[in-house]
């Protein structure tokens, strides 16, 4: 994070529940999707698994908090 003088609102713990949205992005929406197996470990998982040549998960937004 940039060095600033503001009050911290969200501070991340490195290595915990790591997710990378680099070069994939995932659905642009908060769909409150439930958690999934493996989600609480420290391994990185991908945010989108769809073929990149047909569409990009960056195409949409939503508020889709999903289940476990």
């Amino acid at each position: 994070m940039r060095k600033g003088t503001g009050r911290k609102l969200l501070v991340a713990t490195l290595g915990v529940g790591a997710v990378s949205y680099v070069a994939c992005g995932g659905v642009v929406a908060n769909l409150m999707a439930p958690p999934q197996d493996g989600g609480a470990d420290t391994s990185a998982d991908t945010a989108g698994d769809a073929p990149r040549d047909t569409f990009s998960p960056l195409d949409i937004i939503a508020n889709l908090v999903a289940p476990r």
């Binding site: 503001g6 609102l9 929406a29 769809a50 937004i61």
Partner: protein
């Protein structure tokens, strides 16, 4: 471009006070009341990850709302319709704060790496302004925001603790207007559009539908076999089976049906 860690801050002082006056409901919520003692550590970590992810998604949605707002002005959409949409970026920022504070309430955010230059896909700059707006609105609002409303509402009903209930209730209240906005825009814009324009909108909507379905396939494939529903509800989300059933139904009723009724030839 190198990735960045998703963390957030407040400016504070007078700036924060102005913001608080705009949205006083945030500070009125029962912050500091969620006691994680007695909950399994893995469940709490999972919840931290889910709420941090929700904050990131809300942040991306704010970016998408701002990009859409610019396109609406460029195509000279009806002023009252633009005014309606001008509230959306602030709504999304409020949701960013609420979900981020939920993560912090549970012990802190988890690690998300992202690329600030690639948070959304803008419409093709070569398109005329009206079609640029329609392209983004089809993906972001007619699909993403529209399908999220019933899912958020169900998650809100599932949450039992007053804090996640308050957070989700606020999000549900705001998102109702976001969900209908896309179709209000289409009802105005389609009058001046050609069949080719409608096909372009259908392709954009199809891209959004495929992205949502890819997310849900991931949930289906990686659903938790040892899920403790009582814990899940306490922390604020639905069981996977209930979520996926509602998601499929909502995509049909809230997205595909209204698009087809308006003559948008989606195929997904």
């Amino acid at each position: 471009m190198p990735s960045e860690l998703f963390e957030l801050e407040l400016y504070g002082d007078n700036v924060e006070r102005r913001y608080r006056r705009m949205r006083p409901e945030v500070e009125a919520m029962p912050w500091g009341t969620f006691d994680t003692a007695g909950l399994p550590e893995a469940a709490v970590t999972m919840a931290r990850k889910q709420w941090t992810g929700a904050a990131y998604q809300e942040h991306r949605t704010a970016v998408a709302c701002a990009a859409t707002l610019r396109a609406l002005m460029e195509c000279r959409a009806p002023l009252d319709l633009i005014a309606m949409a001008s509230r959306f970026p602030l709504d999304e920022l409020v949701h960013v704060e609420l979900t981020a504070r939920m993560a912090m309430e549970l012990g802190g955010g988890t690690e998300i790496q992202f690329e600030p230059d690639h948070m959304i896909i803008d419409a093709d700059e070569g398109l005329p302004p009206l079609l640029r707006a329609a392209d983004m609105i089809a993906r972001f609002f007619c699909v993403g925001e529209a399908v999220s409303i019933p899912l958020l509402r169900a998650t809100w009903h599932a949450a039992r603790h007053p804090l996640p209930r308050a957070v989700l209730g606020r999000i549900v209240k705001d998102e109702a207007a976001h969900g209908v906005f896309g179709f209000l825009f289409l009802d105005w814009a389609l009058e001046s559009m050609t069949e080719a324009d409608r096909r372009h909108i259908a392709v954009a909507a199809d891209r959004g539908i495929m992205a949502v379905r890819a997310l849900w396939r991931g949930i289906e494939q990686r659903r938790s076999k040892g899920y403790d529903e009582s814990l899940g509800d306490a922390l604020g989300w639905l069981h996977s089976d209930a979520y996926l059933e509602l998601a499929a139904r909502s995509l049909e009723t809230q997205v595909r049906k209204p698009l087809l009724e308006r003559g948008i030839p989606i195929t997904r």
